[in-house]
């Protein structure tokens, strides 16, 4: 080996070391603290009580017929959070995918302009953006005034799941579009032509070529939307009329009740569940991805 290449390895070997140190101290150690708090009580003695509480705590919920029904509080909260997050993610995907595709097929200049436009709302404070949605969606809000002006009647949106989903979709849509767009913009146009040439109608091209090729982007986009939407608390508070109580609300509520250990336990369980889900998802979709060899 020549002197030059050894020195080169030395230089580049050092390049990553600040980050390695940083990652250990500021990514791994804090996570260890979450685990530590999750498995200790207020006097820092080991306990699994916080974890079992998450799975066993019950509440009485009125059923359809008005009769009380025992439910597992946090499992129900998790289920509802997951449901809303999943709906939002699917909507983001359904809206974001075609948009990303349209943008990726536009002229380079139009592409850049449109991507810029998609980024711009992210620069406005998200609390303020959510506030603006309140103004639009409420019963006497802009949308209803507009509809009334057209004699189309009124719609009740604020406080419903729809409102929360709109808020989440609005806030997280760019996170879906960005990864999708970046993979679609890189996609080899000749593959699409090849598919057309081999007898695929446009729908078939989408299903058999574009979709599988953009799978890594879909995985990234879904991850980037699902995760913040499963843990949000502000959007559900503002647009859900305070009627929704999600995992984020639960964690924040325990934090403000100074119940740090239980807050950490919820966070820990959520974290483990998400990491597991992501690992499974990546494993499943790795069949469809192709190691970036075509990139």
């Amino acid at each position: 080996m020549t002197k030059k290449t050894t020195r080169r390895n030395l230089v580049t070997g050092i390049a990553a070391s600040p980050y390695e140190l940083w990652a250990v101290v500021f990514i791994l150690v804090p996570l260890a603290f979450v685990a530590y708090y999750a498995f200790t009580d207020n006097s820092f003695r080991f306990t699994t009580a916080n974890i079992t509480r998450f799975f066993t705590a019950t509440s009485s919920v009125a059923g359809e017929d008005g009769a009380g029904r025992e439910v597992r509080t946090y499992l129900l909260i998790s289920w509802r959070s997951l449901k809303l997050a999943a709906i939002s993610t699917v909507v983001c995907l359904l809206l974001g995918y075609p948009l990303a595709y349209i943008i990726s097929r536009a002229s380079p200049k139009a592409q850049k302009t449109m991507m810029t436009l998609i980024m711009i709302p992210m620069w406005m404070n998200f609390l303020i953006r959510t506030y603006a949605w309140m103004t639009i969606l409420q019963d006497t809000g802009i949308l209803n005034n507009f509809l009334a002006g057209l004699h189309l009647g009124r719609v009740h949106i604020i406080g419903t799941e729809t409102a929360v989903v709109i808020g989440m979709v609005y806030d997280y849509l760019p996170y879906m579009i960005l990864p999708l767009y970046s993979i679609m913009a890189k996609m080899d146009h000749r593959l699409i032509e090849a598919a057309r040439d081999l007898g695929c109608a446009p729908v078939g091209v989408l299903r058999r070529v574009i979709l599988p090729l953009s799978m890594p982007g879909v995985v990234n986009g879904v991850t980037m939307v699902l995760i913040p939407s499963i843990s949000t608390f502000y959007i559900s508070q503002k647009l859900g009329d305070g009627m929704f109580f999600l995992l984020g609300d639960a964690i924040e509520g325990q934090y403000t009740a100074n119940n740090l250990h239980f807050a950490a336990a919820i966070a820990f369980i959520l974290m483990v569940a998400l990491l597991a889900a992501m690992a499974v998802m990546r494993h499943l979709t790795s069949k469809y991805t192709y190691g970036g060899a075509a990139a």
Partner: protein, 372 residues
């Protein structure tokens, strides 16, 4: 033979730049036709018009007598082998080949047998479950061919399919493509900028330049009877000199009057005279029709390439006899070695080897490959 594809008066331009200028071309069933020309001559665009990826600005594309200008690619019974193959990276070899069959909802067993058949034909049996990205260039090429043929198209379009292969492999693939074409009886429309490739494979060669067809003919036709200086120069090596057609079968150039076999020109009409380098014999100085000085000699293996200065015009001569640089020699040319062409817009642009160098040629070749 039946016409399978007709192009009628097709014009196409991109961003105001004319790429195809009033092209008309008939392609017959079961024929191996090559579109040959330098990069930017419009050959790939012609192919894409037939494939359905472009629509002409004016003129018609006919498939078996029917106008198909607006038929989308997936509804044309025409398949393409793309320049860099365009294999689907998310599918394995088998699935790539099965792709068009699955689209047509062909029964499973039939897919299996047809794909196996195709893979056998391109000698890729046993590669079914390999990822296409793990294949070599030649293997990818075969997959692309199998994929394009499995749907039994009437016409196969090949867009410089061999450009990315190395020389040896390219020669093998040329032979193989020719065999496949014969075996399947499918019309092949082949695009290349490599004249040797074109000559060795084609039934018909279409020489194109600047968006126009220069000549259509068999390999022998375009080599032996080039229509103009462009074709003469582009296909093989040519010495092209100005001459005067004195009368039928007599032409004067380089200060000498030669007997030739061509006729039908006006008396004393200025013409372009083509003499292939291999058709010139070297004789001792003072003998022969022309006298010159050797300026360079290059050993090429089978022969020497000799550049001879004759009255300021440099001729290229290929000979198996050794001559030394600086030697004075005489040149002898048989009448049937002389080909007479009408003057054209390309006259005077080609055929002088004054600035010739091998290196230069290769460089421009590499450039055209890279840019197309």
């Amino acid at each position: 033979m039946d016409k399978i594809i007709e192009l009628r008066n097709i014009t196409k331009s991109f961003d105001g730049e004319v790429v195809l200028d009033n092209i008309s071309l008939d392609i017959y069933d079961n024929e191996f036709i090559t579109l040959l020309g330098p990069s930017g001559c419009g050959k790939t665009t012609t192919l894409r018009l037939i494939g359905g990826f472009e629509t002409p600005d004016s003129g018609d594309v006919l498939f078996m007598g029917q106008r198909i200008n607006d038929v989308p690619p997936h509804k044309r019974n025409v398949n393409t082998v793309f320049q860099r193959y365009a294999l689907f990276p998310h599918l394995n070899v088998f699935e790539n080949v099965a792709f068009p069959l699955r689209e047509r909802k062909v029964p499973r067993e039939e897919i299996e047998t047809r794909v196996e058949e195709m893979l056998a034909m391109v000698a890729l049996k046993g590669f079914e479950h390999r990822s296409v990205t793990s294949l070599s260039g030649g293997q990818q090429q075969r997959v692309a061919i199998a994929r394009a043929l499995v749907g039994k198209p009437r016409v196969l379009l090949l867009d410089e399919p061999l450009a990315a292969l190395d020389l040896k492999l390219r020669k093998d693939m040329q032979q193989e493509l020719k065999n496949i074409q014969k075996a399947t009886g499918i019309t092949f429309i082949f695009v290349t900028h490599d004249q040797e490739e074109a000559l060795s494979m084609s039934d018909t060669i279409v020489v194109m330049s600047e968006g126009r067809i220069q000549q259509i003919g068999s390999s022998q036709d375009v080599y032996n009877e080039p229509k103009n200086a462009f074709v003469a120069d582009f296909i093989g090596e040519s010495n092209i000199v100005d001459g005067i057609m004195l009368r039928d079968k007599s032409v004067s150039f380089s200060g000498h009057t030669f007997a030739c076999v061509d006729g039908g020109f006006a008396p004393s009409e200025p013409v372009d005279v083509v003499v292939r380098p291999e058709d010139v014999d070297i004789v001792p100085a003072g003998k022969g029709m022309l006298q010159g000085t050797v300026t360079s000699v290059t050993f090429m293996g089978v022969h020497y390439e000799v550049i001879v200065d004759i009255g300021g015009f440099k001729w290229m001569i290929q000979t198996t006899d050794f001559v030394a640089e600086g030697e004075h020699i005489g040149l002898y040319i048989e009448p049937d070695a002389i080909h007479i062409m009408k003057k054209s817009e390309y006259s005077g642009l080609y055929g002088d080897y004054a600035s010739f160098s091998n290196e230069f040629d290769e460089l421009s070749d590499a450039e055209s490959e890279g840019s197309e």
